[in-house]
Amino acid sequence: MSDSETEQTAAGTEPVLDGREQHRAAVAALLNVAPEPGVAKPDPILTATGVRRAFGGLVAVDVERLEVQRGTITALIGPNGAGKTTFFNLLTGFDQPSRGAWEFNGRSGARLRSYQVARAGMVRTFQLTKALSRMTVLDNMLIAAPNQIGERLWAGLMPWLWQGQEAAVKRKALELLERFQLLSKKDDYAAELSGGQRKLLEMARALMLDPLMVMLDEPMAGVNPALKQSLLEHIKGLREEGMTVLFVEHDMDMVHEIADWVAVMAAGSLITEGTPEQISADTRVIDAYLGAHHDAAQH
């Protein structure tokens, strides 16, 4: 625990430039990684082994091995029903695996509950955005700050104990809202935001936790084209700050634009990995992913 805590503060306070260098180093390291499913990475932040989730007879996820390189943006793609979101839920503690284990930043993750996963530094967003609708945008941000003294029942009765921390949390929230162009909306209810703005809010909210790794479940779903570019820049920004990003996506253009590494799932298992260029050329992917896509389009 103490290990991950020092890591966490390091990621939070590191100057942007160092983050960029860290990213270049990570990408350079990935250059020599063979495009094979389950291949070992030089510095994995997340290592999943033998993760399997069955719903009755249906095996939704059966991933032999997946490593995610620290400081990179990794895309998880695959046709509908490939098990991407289920895999996401397993890794983030929102679902329990039938068997399997994974390690996040040197810590075993399979036994952790969802809130413990978040506290360990792996924060997720949802495909269907979970903004806290009848709370203000600012409250959505403030609620996410970790280790708040005032969140303890007894301390709630003694405002002088937490008001200092609350002010600091608020400063941080306002900074993030400004960066995500939501500052003017801070007193609006979250339900009054557009779909794209809610995605931005969810991402900004995740950053309140100073995560080591951000898990984005279809960050572009339901976002209008005008906001897409801004959202892409924000995701790149996470990498520049030294965070690791794993995201599920359908949109291949987006994957090409921002992903350093791509893992492809089909029918519950990992069929291949590689850089976006390698993946585009891979016939297995074209068969499994694009083939299925064409089928889907014809229906």
Partner: protein, 347 residues
């Protein structure tokens, strides 16, 4: 028709002991349902736990009054844990189903003949309130008069010409303690709901999965809300039992829980003063309608063939129910509620 009497009665009741029971029960419910979104349909059982804890302690086990109060609070806490541990990890509706069933179980146990030796079965218990009333600072035989306020053999009359308020010696003591308790709980709740702790409760009401993804132990917070709301419910049970100087199992039916809900929704859920205002208005209207109809029947303004005195009770509840339906149609947020908040499309 004696309108002076009708309004005096209704207003006297609107701030009286029974109203305080509704207010306290609904304040507890407000924390659970209003702020956290927990559907506790067993608030009557928490009141019963308090009332029976007190009565059993004093009458059946011969324990001191204050120790029995602690037993009542302890019983409510155990009840909250028993209900919460299996259901709070599940979807909200499971808590609703379990609490409504548990409340009936508690009532059935209280009235069962097996333990009638101690609980008195369906007759309930009396004789546990002496210690409480001995503490009363209001002398039983005081007689004085000061302007429009007068005391006659311990009975207080506040004569405001248009209406007057009248309270017995015991009512005065119950009300003093009851209003102090209401004030204490409102201050505590105000501090809590405006703290980061209260913010988490509201977050849970909106989307508990989102809160889990942000590293919050949702189960622990829901449990805290359930226990605190239940303890306030037990205090409502104390006031209820003491104001009547007896406990009876059949006063703790599901109806009582739903009166708490009516009070809460009428006043405005998730509003600090919602339960208090709701309780005052609910109990004022109940008494106003009852007294008006009673007077009208007695004065032959309403012919006997249309309405007899025994039918007044059900008719009053019918009218209150109709009022509740109209409220939900035209002002679903309650009197103090925030319309803008309720009208948001939260799906």
């Amino acid at each position: 028709m004696d309108w002076h009497f009708v309004f005096s009665q209704a207003l006297t009741q609107a701030i009286g002991p029974t109203m305080l029971v509704y207010a306290l029960g609904a304040i507890g419910l407000n924390l659970q349902f209003g702020y956290t979104g927990l559907l506790n349909f067993g608030q009557a059982a928490f009141a019963a736990a308090g009332a029976y804890g007190l009565a059993l302690g004093v009458v059946a086990f011969d324990l001191p009054f204050w120790l029995s109060i602690l037993i009542g609070l302890g019983a409510a806490m155990v009840l909250a844990l028993l209900l919460g541990i299996p259901t709070l990890r599940l979807r909200a509706d499971y808590l609703a189903i379990v609490t409504i069933a548990a409340a009936e179980i508690v009532r059935r146990l209280a009235r069962s003949t097996v333990w009638a030796e101690w609980t008195g079965g369906s007759d309930g218990m009396r004789g546990f309130s002496e210690t409480f009333f001995e503490l009363s600072p209001f002398p039983k035989d005081a007689t004085w008069s000061l302007g429009f306020v007068s005391m006659e053999n311990g009975r207080l009359t506040v004569d405001l010409w248009l209406v007057d308020f009248q309270y017995s010696n015991r009512d005065l003591w119950i009300m003093t303690v009851g209003w102090i308790l209401v004030a204490i709980f409102l201050v505590i709740l105000r501090l809590l709901v405006h703290s980061p702790w209260g913010r988490i409760l509201r977050g849970i009401r909106e989307d508990e999965e989102a809160l889990r993804s942000l590293g919050k132990n949702v189960f622990a917070y829901k449990m805290q809300a359930l226990v605190i709301g239940g303890l306030i419910g037990a205090v409502a049970g104390f006031v209820f039992a003491l104001s009547r100087a007896n406990v009876q199992p059949d006063t703790f039916t599901t109806d009582l829980t739903f009166y708490f809900y009516v009070v809460l929704i009428l006043g405005g859920a998730a509003r600090l003063f919602g339960p208090l205002l709701g309780a005052a208005i609910f109990w004022f209207l109940y008494n106003l309608l009852s007294q008006t109809l009673n007077q009208a029947v007695r004065a032959d303004l309403i012919p006997d063939a249309m309405l007899s005195t025994t039918q007044i009770g059900p008719l009053v509840f019918f009218l209150l129910g109709l009022g509740m339906v109209l409220l939900l149609i035209y002002r679903p947020q309650g009197i103090l509620g925030n319309k803008r908040e309720l009208m948001l499309d939260v799906r």
